[in-house]
Symmetry: C2
Subunit: 337 residues, 2 copies
């Protein structure tokens, strides 16, 4: 089957790029030194490829992701790297014995929820500079004690330096990461345990503190990460059809902001053309196009782009437009909550 036979808009993943990106990361972070984050791609067949490459522990951001990974037989060591108060569903899952689940805690309330939900293992989540989740570093030992006192196994600490992932200057990025991870190391010294979890695609080669890197976007990259000059290639393309061509010098493609994440800006055409704007179901591109022509768009941010689609099509060449061969069609089975 050719990509030109797919209903557009269709999301294409380049098989060669995916293979090379997985190999590059595996060389830098082999086996358990990488805990791939499934939030980036929300697709258990893709997670299965990473498990085959030796990365059998995974990060999840939502309960739905944990449930789906367990159902797919990939629940050997799942870290729900997020604070969760509603752990009822996790408890039901763990009662089946189909998964090992560790959750992040950063408060007495999240510790109580873990216990109430039947979760047995936790990491203490530490604020390492990004304004989001995580306790302050000096609270970490007390929270670890509190968790242990109620019978939880504290496997270690977690801290995500998300605010540094997109720092464009590699030297400044490395220096800031070292400073941020020093906070996590301090927390770890006070908490104990074997696990120091954190990092991401943008800090894969400069985060020397974590025992396991929580990267996901590297598998197919995106416009936002591509600016960093990392050794990973962009491999995700939204295939569209030019459904209308104007004498005024533009074409309307049949994929718009319901098919593309817009938080990091407009997509970029694979070939010629300049994106003028995206509307709900269209992208208007200035340039010379023919009605019916297949046009690829590279999204600025892959995680939320993939989450908008039911299917991710693995192709031999995502830049080949309608001529690309569809190798597999994977369900994006981890989306939702």
């Amino acid at each position: 089957m050719r990509a030109g036979d797919l209903t557009t808009p269709a999301l294409l993943a380049d098989a060669g790029v995916l293979e090379r990106n997985v190999a590059t990361m595996s060389a830098a972070r082999p086996g358990p030194a990488l805990r791939p984050h499934v939030k980036a791609f929300k697709c258990t067949p893709l997670a299965g490829l990473l498990a085959e490459a030796g990365h059998t522990g995974f990060c999840c951001a939502t309960v739905r992701e944990v449930e789906g990974m367990a159902a797919a037989g990939l629940g050997g060591d799942l870290l729900l790297a997020n604070e969760v108060l509603d752990t009822r569903r996790l408890g039901a899952l763990m009662a089946t014995g189909s998964a090992r689940v560790t959750v992040a805690v950063d408060s007495s309330e999240t510790i109580a929820a873990a216990v109430a939900g039947g979760v047995r293992e936790v990491l203490v989540d530490v604020d390492v500079g990004m304004p989001r989740c995580g306790c302050q570093v000096d609270e970490a030992p007390r929270l670890a004690d509190e968790a242990r006192a109620v019978g939880l196994e504290v496997r270690g600490v977690m801290g995500y330096e998300g605010h540094l992932q997109h720092e464009p200057d590699a030297t400044r990025r490395a220096a800031a990461v070292a400073e941020s991870m020093a906070v996590l190391a301090t927390a770890h010294a006070g908490v104990g345990g074997e696990v120091v979890s954190g990092g991401g695609t943008g800090t894969f080669d400069c985060n020397h503190v974590v025992t396991e890197l929580q990267a996901g976007s590297y598998v197919l990259m995106d416009g936002d990460y591509a600016r960093l000059g990392l050794p990973f290639e962009e491999g995700l393309v939204l295939l569209t059809t030019a459904v209308s061509v104007s004498a005024r010098g533009w074409a309307a493609l049949d994929g718009g902001l319901k098919a593309l994440a817009m938080d990091s800006g407009d997509p970029s055409p694979v070939g010629d053309g300049d994106v003028l704007f995206c509307s709900d179901e269209h992208t208007t591109v200035a340039g010379t196009f023919a009605v019916g022509q297949r046009v690829g768009l590279r999204p600025a941010h892959i995680d939320p782009t993939i989450a908008k689609h039911e299917v991710l099509h693995l192709v031999d060449d995502a830049t080949a437009g309608g001529d690309a061969e569809v190798l597999e069609s994977w369900p994006v089975d981890l989306r939702g909550w």
Copy 2:
């Protein structure tokens, strides 16, 4: 059931706001003078309410929407207000006799596709100033002749003044709409037929040319449209839980840019607090919050926000947080392509 019993993030629609918005629009555009656009809400139970209010013809943006509306028994008069080259699925649908489908055409290619797909009725889509779809006004009569020559019924013309929907000054908006719609009237004079279709929520009271208004967002409004001072209220809220509260003065809510459209900017909290930023699964809000507190966020753009959710919960008061009563839970059954 209370909204506090729902897994968060959960999308809530205010029943009272919905009822009042529908009544306000029906008073201005009764019965067939309104052709509600289902792209805004992608939910057949909500479309059913509009049919009960007398609006039995609908606009669709995708083939999936047409299929879903037909399957729900709402296919009496569906306008696919978009150019479509792949009409195979429409043809299969129309062969069942379950729907009357009219499609927009703006080129020889889209006319040929309509014929090949077994579509029998079309509107000629005209560029009225927005850089997207539509033929130039002087091409419209020739395209109508071409369509009739191959056996299609040309019901009239369509032209969407999308570039004017969000003009904040009502006087300037009305003047620009009059100018834009004069183009459509010229096209109509050359094309014939009974239908002049166009307009939207932002031009509902100043578009005096269209015989049917293609509005959808008015049912629940959003931050972007709310700035216009229209007589419709905002009724869509993403209910989240504060899963982490920092001593540094913010809370992390468990709904982020995978649950909220970001093309028109950040969401706004229902109550106190200032949104700092959205990440994949979180919104960080500055202010005073308690762990476990339910916090509502109003999205900046409703159409793509709803398209990110499987379910839309109708509640008695979308501003009541976890105390809101869930009246019905509607599937968002028209999303995808």
